[in-house]
């Protein structure tokens, strides 16, 4: 479904992604793990058109998208849930969800969109209660739910999720991961970026490990979670300690 081939992305002189290749098949959950600054967010931004690659190719359903604007890429069916939620704070929960479906209003009936609104509110009942509240007044967990809910409103084929569990209480993390699994059952393909490697590897089908802009490992998530190197670097106590200090 998504084929990334030898891309290189830069911020000015900083070479953030180096000859990076990966692929995602339909209805997979693919996890991308790596420590802070490895380039995970950059990869998602590169796919969604925010920071286009300088070289290399990105094909989505066989169409080259690496030179397209973010708006065009959304229209193709890729929705990016960015790091830090990036909600429209002064707008209401309902308005945020509506804008998630921005491109659909001209193509689809209001009824289909309302059906998805109900679907999102079923997934996250708290959003229904808060629908007239300004998004900026929500708690961190609620904001993350809204950010994912807003992305669902775009009816993506592929959803890019950037650290959805960051800074959230354990129970909320479980709720979010359950929803991710539910999205997969409803046939959404997912690229999941996480520092919470254990949780990500548990729900993923396959995974990639990213270190300083390069893919250093890839494979079945069930295999990687048992890999000594991965355990040591991302799952062990050392790593937890490292994260705490960050």
């Amino acid at each position: 479904m998504l084929n990334i081939d030898l891309i290189n992305t830069y911020y000015g002189q900083i070479h953030a992604l180096k000859d990076l290749s990966l692929h995602i098949e339909k209805e997979e959950i693919v996890a991308l793990i790596g420590s802070n600054g490895a380039g995970k967010s950059t990869l998602l931004n590169t796919v969604s058109g925010v920071t286009p690659p300088r070289t290399g190719s990105i094909r989505f359903n066989k169409t080259e998208i690496s030179r397209r604007s973010p708006e065009k890429i959304v229209a193709q069916g890729i929705v990016h849930v960015p790091e830090g939620r990036q909600l429209f704070g002064p707008l209401t929960v309902f308005e945020n969800l509506e804008l998630g479906a921005f491109l659909r209003f001209s193509r689809e009936s209001r009824k289909d969109i309302e059906k998805d609104l109900r679907y999102v509110m079923e997934l996250f009942p708290i959003l229904k209660e808060r629908r007239e509240q300004k998004a900026g007044t929500l708690s961190g967990g609620e904001q993350q739910m809204l950010s994912i809910g807003r992305a669902i409103m775009g009816r993506p084929q592929l959803m890019l999720l950037d650290e959805p569990s960051l800074g959230l209480a354990p129970l909320v993390v479980i709720e979010i991961f359950n929803v991710i699994r539910k999205l997969q059952e409803d046939r959404t393909t997912i690229l999941l970026v996480e520092q919470n490697a254990r949780a990500a590897l548990r729900i993923a089908d396959r995974a990639y490990v990213l270190e300083t802009g390069r893919i250093t490992m890839e494979g079945n998530a069930k295999v990687l979670i048992e890999d000594e190197g991965v355990k040591k670097a991302y799952l062990g106590n050392d790593y937890r300690e490292k994260r705490r200090r960050l």
Binding site: V74, H80, P90, L91, L99, F102, F105
Partner: protein
Amino acid sequence: MGIYEQILQFVLTGLTIGAIYALVALGFNIIHNATGIVNFVQCEFVTLGGMMMYTYYSLLGIPLILSFFLSMATIILLGALIERGPIRAARSKAIIVLVFITIGLSSTIRGTALLAWGPDNVPLPSFSGENVIRILGAAILPQHLWIFGITVGVVIFLQYFFHRTLIGKAMRATAVNRKAASLMGISVNRMVLLSFAMSGGIGAVGGMIIAPITTSSYDTGIMLALKGFSAAILGGYGNNAGAVAGGLILGVLESLGAGLISSKFKNAFAFLILLLVLFFKPTGLLGYGESERV
């Protein structure tokens, strides 16, 4: 005329001129919220509203209503062209660069207007006669009612647009967070284009409805835009409710000051009020608008 009638008179005329400041302030806000810049061409939007109306109506003999909408359409088009041309083409999107582009455009357009229409003030007829209307001992002109009614209409339209339509919400979203807006598939360029077109239209309306009272010339927009800008800051830059409140307050205080103290200092009053507010409440009376601070 007793002192109370006089005060009422000053308040009423103050509200009318304040309504114009409010319109101009709204024009400033809309572009600011979409782009983060102060658009100096707002002056010319106001000027050209009056001058195009004069051209269509007085020079070409087109009926008043039609002239009104034609002038508005012309300035909307001008606003769109400014965005589509120099603003979008600018290699650097730094705020300061874009602001200087609007300063350059502003003087270019003013110079062209001087060449086209000459330096003299031109009259425009009132929309519906000059018969004075008496209200509790104060006297106002039918044009004052037009100014008030049209301003209320514009404000209601904007409120509806920004809070009830998808495009309006998309514009607010773009003002709050451009990156997130583009990730929703909202074209930021298109929202900026729309903001220039709308500001053009609103500025032109302000210029057209005030012209029958003040007459119009190639540079009438400057003072009005300066006051409108003050009104926007007074209310809280970027905040539309603030723009309306700021405009009306500025208009009334200025009119009272000019009437009761001295008309020589009329313009000084406006800026004095502005300085006081900025000194005591730098974010304006109602606070900044929704947009991210750039």
